[in-house]
Structure formats: C-alpha cells, structure tokens
Amino acid sequence: MKSAERVPKPSLVGHYAGPVTRLTAFAIDSAVSGIALAVMVAAMSAVIELVVRRDIAAANAPPAVGSVVLLVWLFLYYYVSWSAAGKTVGMAMLGLRVVRRDGSPLDHRHALLRTLAFPFSFLFLGLGFVGIVVGREHRAFHDIVGDTTVVYDWDARAAKLRMLAAEPDRQPTPDTA
C-alpha cells in the first residue's frame, strides 16, 4: 500500500492538527449532522402525524422555524460532542481531538465558549478560519475564544505498522504463496 509511505514515522498524538484534516472532519460533521437532522425531522413528523392524524409537511414550515431548529440542532451536536468526548463524529474518524491550549482536557465551559464562537468564524468569508492555515498553533477564531486547540489523536506509527502488517495479505511473496 503506497499510502504507508506517506505516514510520518513518529506518533502524531498531541501534535497540532493541520487545515486539510480539520476541513475534512468538518465536512463529515456537516454531512452527519445534516443527515441526522433530516432523519429526526422525518421521524418526528411521522410521530406527530400519527398523534394528530393529519398530514404535516415539514418542508412547508416557515423559514425562521427551520433556521432555529437547524441552529439548535447544530449547537447541540457540537456542544455535546465536544464537552462529552472532546471530538465530533468527523473528528473521531479523522483522528482529531479538541483540547485546551495547554493540552489539558476540554471542560464544559470552554466547550460552550467554543461552540458559541464557532458560527462567527464563518463571517467575512470565513476569515476566522485563516488562523488554522497560517498560525503556528493552527487555531481558528473559535479556538482563541474558547482557549482551545485541535490535535491529532491517533498513533501514526501504529497505523503504519498496521498498514505494513496488512501488506503480506494483499501481496503474497513467493515464499508465502
């Protein structure tokens, strides 16, 4: 597997995460949270229809209601994920974790601050995210507000060993074939 050559030799645990990984994690989180919201809305609509015994078109709800539901859902998704585990689903898949700036575990208060500041990072064409690309500690606006940073939480060296270990199964040598 050629990808094994791209894995750095030292373990990455605790190192500042880069912009590509964080952006990928955010994209996954957006998809997961969107799908989850759609499933929940559909499920709730079905339950309400069963209770009131008439058709409810959730898509016809006023835009303000939809926006409020979306914001509340996103707030809960990120706040609960960060305060409970220090990571969202996307971050877990990419091997990332949110910690305090000094490396200590994230607490509820700083998770709340980070979640509340998160939308403001999107303002002015995402100006709040520039720090992830150019900063030495790769901190966005919401990281600065919440006194947090994002680090790698997976052992790159162990992963490389697993990849190397998997290779004989894929490409049997003449001795093992």
């Binding site: 597997m1 990808s3 094994a4 791209r6 894995v7 750095p8 030292p10 990455l12 645990v13 605790g14 190192h15 500042y16 995460a17 880069g18 912009p19 590509v20 990984t21 990928t24 898949m93 990419l94 091997g95 910690v99 305090r100 700036r101 000094d102 490396g103 200590s104 690309v133 150019v134 030495r136 500690e137 940073t149 680090v151 790698y152 997976w154 790159a156 992963a159 490389k160 060993l161 697993r162 990849m163 190397l164 270990a165 998997a166 290779e167 004989p168 199964d169």
Partner: protein, 197 residues
C-alpha cells in the same frame, strides 16, 4: 714384619706432616683454577639426579615466597600468546566442554537484569520485522478491522496533505519550519518540534 713390607714411598709419606701441609694450601686459589665447564661436562647429571630426593627437596621450598619474587607481568610479556593459541586445537577443547553443565551455571536472570531492554528494542527495526514475518497478519487480525484500516488510510492522506500545505505556507511567509511547535506543552515533550515539513 708389616713395617718391613711398606714401600719406601709409603714410609716417606708417613714422615710428612700432612696436616701442616693442608693448612698451607690456598683452597681458594685452587678453586679459581678449576675449569667448571669442563668439570660439569664430566659429571653424569642423570646419575646425580637419580640420587636426589626431589620430593624432599620440594618440601623444603617456600612456594609462596618464590611466587612473590616472580614478576608475573614481565613473565607474561615474554610469552608469545599468538604462538600458543596457534597450537591449541579449539575444536577439541570445545568438544571436551560439557555445555549443558556450563549453561546450567550461568545466571541468566542476573544477566538479563543488567540488559537495557529499551535500548535493545530501539535498535530493532520493528517495521522490517513485521513486514517480513507472519506477526503482521496476527497484528491485523487481532487489532484492526477493515474500517480501522480505512480510517488509517484516510488519516494518513490527511496528514500528508496537512504537511504539504504547511510547507507551502511556511515558504510563502518565509518562516523557519523547524521552529514550529509540535503541540500543546502538556501533550508533547519540551523542545519537540513539529513534523518535518
């Protein structure tokens, strides 16, 4: 009657004061005139040694005092060790060694307690070992599934791209990549720098 039978020489010798003559002899002068080498050549050494009681002689020797007077270092310096080793048939020596007995006398635990296992393991190329042995397959079966390997693949790609982007940003901003901190102080060792960019 017996006096009559003695020769004139004997009678003359009996008249000489032998003791007085001997007293006058310079023994030291005689000894100095003796050729010792010629004398020794005429001695039958084997016959002489046969008459010597070696055991009794050795019993009278103070071996410790003798050894104390020997300069062992000087003696060893004169010995040509290489020459001796050349003469030794090591195969025969090894054949005569009871290896089981020898090994049973070795304190393996004592030796292992002095071994720095960490430094030994650091010298082991684990990646090469896993790539060449069935240990890899065992590791894969016991620790990961297909999903985990998929995540490893995606994460590795992401880290590679992170490094690439960081390298370009540092180049554009003309920063020294080696000065970048690796991570928060509580999570990385002091002085540890970021990944090679």
């Amino acid at each position: 009657m017996a006096e009559k039978r003695r020769s004139p020489f004997d009678r003359a010798m009996s008249l000489l004061p032998v003791d007085a003559v001997v007293r006058q002899v310079d023994v030291q002068h005689i000894v100095e005139r003796i050729d010792m080498n010629e004398l020794l050549e005429r001695v039958d050494v084997d016959k002489l040694l046969d008459r010597i009681d070696i055991d009794r002689l050795l019993a009278r020797i103070d071996i410790d005092a003798l050894v104390d007077r020997v300069d062992v270092d000087a003696l060893v310096d004169k010995i040509d060790i290489d020459k001796i080793i050349d003469k030794v048939d090591f195969d025969e020596v090894i054949d005569r060694i009871d290896m089981n007995h020898l090994v049973s006398r070795v304190d393996v635990n004592g030796i292992l307690s002095e071994v720095d296992i960490d430094s030994v393991l650091e010298r082991v190329d684990v990646e090469h070992l896993i790539a060449r042995t069935e240990l890899g397959g065992i590791l894969v079966r016991s620790t990961t599934g297909i999903a985990e390997r998929g995540f490893d693949f995606v994460r590795a790609q992401g880290v590679g791209l992170d490094q690439l982007l960081n390298r370009w940003v540092d180049r554009i901003l003309r920063r020294d990549s080696s000065e970048a901190p690796a991570g928060p102080p509580l999570l990385v060792d002091a002085g540890e720098k970021g990944l090679p960019r």
